[in-house]
Amino acid sequence: MTTGDLIGKILQVVIGLVVFAAIVGLLIFLMGRRVGKKRSWWQLLWFLLPAVLLLAVGLVWPAIRTTGLAFQDNAGNFSWDNFVWMFTQPSAIRTLVNTVVWVLLVPTFSTALGLAYAVWIDKSRGEKYYKALVFMPMAISFVGAGIIWRFVYEYRSAGRDQIGLLNAFVVAFGGEPVQWMQTDPINTVLLIVVMIWIQTGFAMVVLSAAIKGIPTEQIEAAMLDGTNPWQRFSNVTVPGIRGALVVVLTTISIATLKVFDIVRTMTGGNFNTSVVANEMYVQAFRASEVGRGSALAVILFLLVIPIVIYNVNILRKQREIR
């Protein structure tokens, strides 16, 4: 590619954006002229149309097609084989089990740690800095985090210089270096640690804000009633931030179900560490088994749905209370 090509491409992008803006502007202008002419139903349709169209093309149709592919073999005939494979092959079952372990451990630990930290540093001097410290991993991409932590877990055989932090500690205390990334099942737990490290900051920030939203009167009243700090925490703080807790737990659960980058950069799904999203990519694109990949995508979709429904329900209930 030459600089000329590059300028051409940048021009293309700019022209595309200008055309898009012009069309949207024209639409809004035309709609605006209609205001007050009792055509609100038409207006609604016109404003929704672009979004609905894009959703249909970019989201709904692919979802339908993926579901269709999940029930086809390579020749395109209807078959249950992809699902049979998923629930009978030991390696595929292991993938499902790993995903469940991830979803159980990551949201629980990141929320618990984030909450504890938020309560602990609340109203302390230098709170801002303590917060920034824990929040910083959020700014690192998953791939970046994966590479950093792979160095932490790096292994060199006994007698050679350990370049991995964890093994350096082990050796310093007189132990034998361990092949962390190859030892099942500790390797899955170590990958989960990376995700917790990233997500704790998110939980901490949201929960800290929620804690600050609890009316001081409630806390003071509880203190007057002679409660100890633990009772205040469990009976005043936690109910006060319930909504935020649910949001944090469900958001992290959904992010965890989709985890792909960490596993792919750190182990590539080897050594029994694969999860559904990684296996989905491997099957669909590397193994050319589009049906199996699609079946895994469908399972992932089914796993996310209850969490989303629960999330929406809780939010709706809270709105009703208010």
Binding site: N74, Q89, S157, Q179, N270, V282, F285, R286, S288
Partner: protein, 451 residues
């Protein structure tokens, strides 16, 4: 307020400028060279106006530069602009691109298995008569068959590599009076001698390769299947006429296991058996240079890995620091059989300029051009071996051109992706990690797609 606004504008403009500069840095403007090109060799391909052919493939960096250089004269003389775009994700994306109608005009596919899948999808344009004539003239039947699917010939081979080299230090062999083994048993005896001497383990092995971890192990198995049971069983194995857990395959696994699963044999200079999985294949052979191991099994392309920093500190030659011999046959009298790999430029667009490029790529002119630039070999019989850049490559070309050589394509590249690029790799990892041969081959067999 006005001042403030202008400040912002300037900042924005500066931002765009910086971004443009940064991007321009990546483009690597090339000088338009080659004013005095002898076009007589390229007349047969005709001339075109405003014709552009896009090519995609897995070839990157220096290799990609050489590839572009190899056809620059052709492009100048015929007037075809050739755009090459390399990507390490090419194999994963090409089927998706083809289905969406966005594939490049030519895709350089490194696996016959992938070629078959693309042909099955109905996206490939069969090769033109010019390409087929070149292949019939310059390549063996075996090679032509790898570019054929279901009776239709789709693509000529491009470059090639030979697998199954065993790298060793000629000086060390000479000092100890070791002979280059003539049979597999000799190799076992040699390895045992080195192990018994006790100062270092004979073999060093590295299977780590990111998400493809395990593939160097599949090369071992393929080499042993071919040598122990011959080309017919090999063909039946890769086409699934015999199951993956056939006793003959188990035998090959166990023969390899004598080395890879044996703490006396591996992993010299690195650690115990389990370290094979975490040792990157790129660096695994280097302990030979320090005398910490003596033998390393890896393809001909490993030649460039001996000098990881570049330069030529380590000389690869039969009288130098490092050289390679082919994994010997089972019996001394057996014909030479080798496994190897190669690429196939398949076409996605039916146009004269595309076929002109493909015809050129299948010619002896191109093969000699590319081989002269160094680093690779071709199985094109029109190649003069002396054009190759090193002693090992000259030897490799001679092996490929020898009509007595039984050549078989890398088996995992011929198998369906679900096996060759997935369960076979992970199976090797589990197997070296301690799983029994039978359980591993059973699991790989179960993953073989039904259709």
């Amino acid at each position: 307020m006005r001042v403030h606004r202008r400040g912002r504008l300037i900042a924005a403009a500066a931002g765009v400028g910086v971004a443009a500069l940064a991007l321009a840095g990546c483009t690597g403007d090339m000088e338009e060279g080659g004013e005095d090109v002898d076009c007589s060799e390229y007349e047969e391909y005709g001339t075109f106006e405003d014709a552009t052919v896009t090519i995609g493939g897995t070839i990157l960096d220096l290799e990609a530069d050489r590839l572009v250089e190899s056809w620059s004269d052709f492009a100048t003389c015929t007037g075809i602009t050739i755009d090459y775009q390399g990507s390490s994700e090419f194999e994963a994306q090409i089927a998706v691109l083809a289905e969406g109608g966005n594939a490049p005009d030519i895709g350089i596919v490194p696996q016959p298995g992938l070629l078959a899948r693309l042909a099955q999808g109905g996206w490939l344009i069969p090769a033109s008569e010019g390409v087929e004539a070149n292949v019939d003239e310059f390549w063996s039947e075996d090679w032509k068959a790898y570019g054929t699917y279901d009776g239709t010939f789709y693509a000529a081979p491009l470059m090639a590599s030979i697998k199954g080299y065993i790298w060793y230090s000629p000086t060390e062999f000479e000092e100890n009076g070791w002979e280059i083994p003539a049979t597999l048993d000799d190799l076992t005896a040699l390895s045992q001698d080195i192990a018994d001497a006790g100062d270092h383990k004979p073999w060093c092995v590295g299977l780590e390769s990111g998400e493809a971890t395990g593939w160097p192990g599949t090369d071992w198995i393929e080499d042993y299947v071919l040598r122990l049971h011959g080309p017919d069983v090999y063909d039946q194995w890769v086409t699934h006429e015999i199951p993956f857990n056939d006793p003959q395959i188990v035998e090959a696994f166990d023969a390899v296991g004598e080395y890879l699963k044996n703490d006396d044999m591996v992993n010299g200079g690195i650690g115990d058996v389990s370290t094979q999985i975490s040792e990157a294949f790129q660096t695994a052979g280097l302990p030979i240079l320090d005398g910490e191991c003596s033998l390393h099994h890896q393809a001909s392309f490993y030649e460039t890995f001996w000098n990881p920093e570049g330069g030529d500190e380590v000389t690869v030659a039969s009288n130098g620091d490092i050289f390679g011999f082919l994994l010997p046959p089972a019996d001394a009298g057996d014909p030479l059989s080798v496994t190897g790999g190669g690429e196939f430029p398949v076409a996605f667009r039916d146009a004269e300029e595309v076929e002109a490029v493909r015809t050129f790529l299948s010619s002896d002119t191109w093969a000699n051009n590319r081989v002269s630039l160094g680093g690779v070999i071709s199985a094109n019989t029109g190649v003069d071996p002396e054009n190759a850049s090193s002693e090992l490559l000259v030897q490799s070309i001679e092996i490929l051109q020898d009509p007595e050589t039984t050549f078989r394509f890398d088996g995992s590249d011929l198998m369906p992706g679900a096996v060759g690029a997935a369960s076979f790799w992970t199976g090797i990892v589990e197997w070296v990690g301690g799983a029994s041969t039978q359980s591993v081959v059973d699991e790989i067999e179960a993953s073989w797609p039904a259709s």
